[in-house]
Symmetry: C2
Subunit: 168 residues, 2 copies
Amino acid sequence: MKINKREIERRIGRFNEVCRNSGVKLTHQRVEIFREVAQTGDHPEAERVYNGVRERMPTISLDTVYRTLWLLRDLGLINTLGPPRERTRFDANLSYHHHFVCIRCGLTRDFYSDELDELKLPESVKDFGYVETTQVEVKGVCLKCAVRGKKTKPTISRKKEVKSWARN
Amino acid sequence: MKINKREIERRIGRFNEVCRNSGVKLTHQRVEIFREVAQTGDHPEAERVYNGVRERMPTISLDTVYRTLWLLRDLGLINTLGPPRERTRFDANLSYHHHFVCIRCGLTRDFYSDELDELKLPESVKDFGYVETTQVEVKGVCLKCAVRGKKTKPTISRKKEVKSWARN
DNA sequence: CTATTTGCAAATAATTTGCAGTGCG
DNA sequence: CGCACTGCAAATTATTTGCAAATAG
């Protein structure tokens, strides 16, 4: 999937603004990393972003890519798919249910809703393949994490340093 | 969250049946591992399952837990949360959208739907915390994987052996 | 100028694999 | 009994970190 120029520019504009407002430095590598993710309609992994950026910036290192991607997520400029920075979780509940996932600590709770169980998917989804299950995934901040303060506490342990720019 | 006895028994019954039908051997460790996942309302990671089972079966090894959990998933007895066996993926599309995820290869596609954008969540969700985004996650098998045959091809590379019991 | 940020190389953490012995059907 | 399954230890893979040099504001 290819994203159109105008949209990419819009995304990059927002990126510049958010960085400036939050006091995050606008380095060459951050710009390139964000551009790389922004122009992919896809959902690349860190390594693919790395490879893409490397073509334009051969000296960039993979760990900078990781650091930047998490930074961008903390700034709310991009999202991660699935549970945040966590190990794989298993679920034996095969009945129809939905998930609330805490983006800070990964807490995952089931919930039920007759209404949500009978969602009508757009026809276009069939073009992707055969549909097996449909679930609603609600992302948010759980009560415990909300109480602990507004700072983005990384899921698994992102060192001491309290980031001055942390969300809000 | 605690699951009631009757439901656990029902799940284990299905487990026995599926194993028998698919020619998978019913070993002591598999039973215990499945029981552990089935009786947790939670969504445990492999390690937590391991610790739980170890109390009753001190000699079990962590890698058997891993092998068994993926086996159970391939048999359709449990599910994994998020993209299957994959590295973290990043998404710069911040507008309202939903995902189709292939459970075989991890392919992820965005799709849009005005109707899905305005889902009404049950009140109970608010008890979990503050809601930030709501997305519909459709899991299925993409066209490419569907064509490649019905066998469960593991996402990242689960060795040669074509499993005779693979789904269908 | 000076606090951030980068690149490097080395460290972790999660998950997988080869292999020889064990046990289910 | 034979082949699928297990446990072990060693291998991979993804991701993170400490540190000195580089750089944005």
